[in-house]
């Protein structure tokens, strides 16, 4: 932040220059309300938790990592409490079909992006609120492949997961049926599955039809994709009937109908039905330990109060940036030297083109069509592989990333955007190898709470660059075959992975194969940070599978 003197030139000095952090400002505003509750009769402060109570399981974060295990532990009769930094919204009345108005869904605290390919955060991959990032995930839910978990065995590079796909498959099945995933049965790239998807695939939009048509010409197999959005109404325990998707295409800025299986309409209400308590607006600052190094309590800020909650076990599910940030700030579980290390982001190259057809990219599930023929391409000069998908896009998201890439301005910019309804895109989602140069650290720059901002270093290495070239070539061929003009590519990196890896050795990993920290026996970590490798598919379904598995392993361990 600029100091007073540098502000003098060109700017007025703001009245409260120290408050650059919107989250803090929100809290301060809440404090004002709480100082005088009569001003807002609907928001009376919640009673303070009993300072002496020790809960069985305390969970930090209510996204794809925290929510499933919260429900599982509550169903097993545990006294569980979740701490969520954000608030709860009523999607039906509060969510606008307007990208800018939905910015409250994103984790907008500033992170510093370093390296040769600085990663965009906020709306690109990081959420806040009851349901975490699932409130704005695209709902694209392919399963990981067997080979994704054994890269090192197959290629001699990257790392293997400490278990095989057999460990995840029962959870994939359970999740697909619990959330009502819509997808093709049999699945073309894994036809031997024991159970198919519970619902038929969602309808294809214009971009998906273009990709389907072009891939057929080129001999690339495609299929309607698996999406965690309902193609028919579905009964959800703890919630009731969820209605079918209305094709409003707005998944990445919040589903207002409940058709998308975000955590707020699936696992969180289920958890609450079984007695889980979810505390909102609770921002964790400290994790306390006893002399043995066991976690004893968590300290958080809520509505201007500092609260301490004692616990027997802690589940840290804050995502691949905030999880290592909390560990580093609290000097916790650092013995392996792996906390913050091996940050990965999926190769997410996009290719766009302009078509004579009317496409209207705002309609339909964004990721309608998939091909996994490129999971292990025959002509690959890289390790791993990628999937191909068609993409729908909203105008503000499209325009802002387009100008970042093409640097159009003036009349050519307005002219190009007039073709928005005729523009369609495809993108890839590709594996990323762990590399020592890519990591999360604490910077010297503090946020408004006085907490060090995280700095994230990411440089696409040789393998990612090779995959980028292969993917761009493939996608340009597809879009040319589809009849696109003015084709351009956007090199981007999506999802945040790694930084507290799982493994079999305490000297090489932060958590063991059950998700338990090697250094701290009553600390479990469950989110994208524990992934040893990035996988060649979108991570949400696998994070949820790990979450259920972590809960089951914990409960088994408690019995023994």
């Amino acid at each position: 932040m600029p100091d007073e003197e540098t502000l003098e030139e060109g700017t007025l000095t703001p009245t409260q220059p120290e408050i650059q952090d919107p989250l803090l400002r929100e809290i301060l505003e809440e404090n004002d309300l709480q100082a005088d509750p009569s001003r807002n009769p609907l928001e009376q402060p919640a009673p303070l938790p009993d300072p002496d109570e020790v809960v069985d399981c305390l969970v930090i974060g209510t996204g794809a990592g925290g929510a499933p295990l919260l429900a599982r532990l509550a169903q097993a009769g545990r006294r569980v409490v979740a701490l969520e930094a954000g608030v709860r919204h009523d999607p039906k009345t509060e969510f606008a079909t307007d990208e800018k108005a939905q910015n409250f869904l994103f984790w907008n605290d500033e992170r510093l992006s370093a390296g040769k390919n600085p990663v965009a955060f906020g709306k690109n991959n990081s959420g806040i609120g009851y349901g975490g990032s699932t409130l704005h995930y695209t709902a694209y839910t392919p399963r990981a492949h067997r080979g994704d978990l054994t890269l090192h065995t197959e290629f001699g590079e990257g790392v293997d997961w400490p278990f095989g796909i057999e460990e995840l498959e029962p959870y994939y099945e359970e999740l697909e049926h619990f959330m009502g995933i819509s997808g093709p049965t049999p699945y073309p790239w894994d036809p031997g599955r024991r159970k198919g998807y519970p619902l038929a695939p969602l309808p294809l939009n214009g971009a998906a039809q273009l990709m389907e048509r072009a891939c057929a010409k080129l001999g690339i197999k495609t299929s309607p994709a698996a999406n965690a959005a309902l193609s028919a109404r579905y009964y959800q325990e703890g919630v009731g009937w969820r209605e079918a998707c209305t094709n409003r295409g707005f998944c990445q800025a919040g589903c207002s109908t409940g058709a998308k299986a975000s955590m707020d309409v699936t696992f969180l209400p289920l958890a609450e039905q079984y007695g889980a308590e979810i505390r909102l607006g609770a921002y964790v600052t400290e994790i306390e330990r006893d002399a043995r190094g066991h976690v004893t309590a968590v300290v958080y800020e809520q509505g201007g109060r500092t609260v301490r909650q004692r616990c027997r076990n802690l589940f840290l599910c804050a995502g691949a940036i905030e999880t290592p940030r909390l560990l580093l700030l609290n000097e916790l579980a650092l013995n392996s030297g792996q906390v913050g290390k091996h940050f990965m982001a999926h190769v997410g190259m996009q290719v766009w083109g302009t078509f004579p057809e009317d496409i209207r990219p705002y309609k339909g599930i964004p990721g309608g069509l998939i091909s996994e023929d490129t999971h292990r391409p025959k002509d690959a000069d890289f390790v791993g592989g990628y999937l191909l998908q068609s993409i729908g896009v909203m105008p503000v998201t499209f325009a802002t990333q387009m100008v970042r890439q093409r640097k159009l301005w003036g009349q050519p910019l307005r002219d190009y955007m007039r073709d928005y309804n005729h523009i369609a895109g495809i993108n890839v989602l590709g594996d990323c190898l762990p590399h020592a140069d890519n990591f999360v650290e604490l910077s010297d720059e503090k946020d408004a709470r006085g907490v060090a901002k995280p700095r994230v270093h990411f440089t696409a290495q040789e393998n990612e660059q090779r995959m980028n070239r292969h993917a761009e070539r493939t996608m340009r061929q597809i879009w040319e075959a589809a009849g696109a003009k003015d084709i351009w590519a956007f090199e981007r990196y999506a999802h945040i992975i790694g930084t507290a890896r799982m493994g079999t050795s305490a000297s090489e990993a932060v958590v063991d194969p059950n998700g338990r920290a090697f250094d701290v026996p009553n600390l479990y970590i469950c989110d994208n940070s524990v992934f040893p490798s990035a996988l060649s598919v979108n991570p949400a379904l696998t994070i949820m599978a790990l979450s259920l598995r972590t809960a089951d392993k914990f409960l088994e361990n408690q019995k023994a």
Binding site: M1, P2, L7, E9, G10, T11, L12, P14, P17, Q20, P22, A96, T97, D98, E99, K100, A101, F106, N108, D109, E110, R111, L112, S113, P118, A120, F121, G122, K123, P203, L204, N205, G206, L210, T246, N247, R248, G249, F250, S256, D358, R360, Y362, K363, G364, M394, P395, V396, A399, V403, R404, K407, W409, G410, Q411, L413, R414, D415, R418, Y420
Partner: protein
Amino acid sequence: MPHYPEGTVRALLQTDLVTPATRAALEARLTAPAAYEPQFFDADTYRLLQAVAARIYPQPDRETPIALAPAVDARLLKGDADGWRYDSMPPDREAYRLGLGGINQAAEAKFQKPFLELDEAQQDSLIALLAAAEAPGENWSQLPQDRFFEEMLAELTESYYAHPLAQEEIGYVGMADVPGWQRIGLNELEPREPEGTK
């Protein structure tokens, strides 16, 4: 490139095809008062920002152009962030101060006048230099020019295409989603979707 009829989004906002939350967000932009008093920038710097925005989004077709500078001023005053910042960039307030100052330095170096006193063609030549990261000026030693241009361009773009009039311009009516969309395939339009004319 297609042209779409005017008034489409404004008409839809009057119907129950749009939810109250959506209508509130869009109408706030549509009815924002034309006069805006800057609270973060001083008056001169604010006018400079307006002039730069007018070259990046020229709107000779509109009697009252969509105002893009107020959102920047209001955001910097509040200190809102979008979740990340290039590590090579100073904090946003400092970046705008240095970047706008750098644009004036470039104007003085090329034309011996401040940016505001140049004609449109001269101003455009400076924006082109900035976009190519070739603008002169000592401030650029403290601020990567390409990143500043990219960030400012993206912020102005977000404001422009979030505005109902700009959405009418590109034929976007996705906000009218109360009944959902049944006709979603290629060349399939519903009655409330405007057709473009070449």
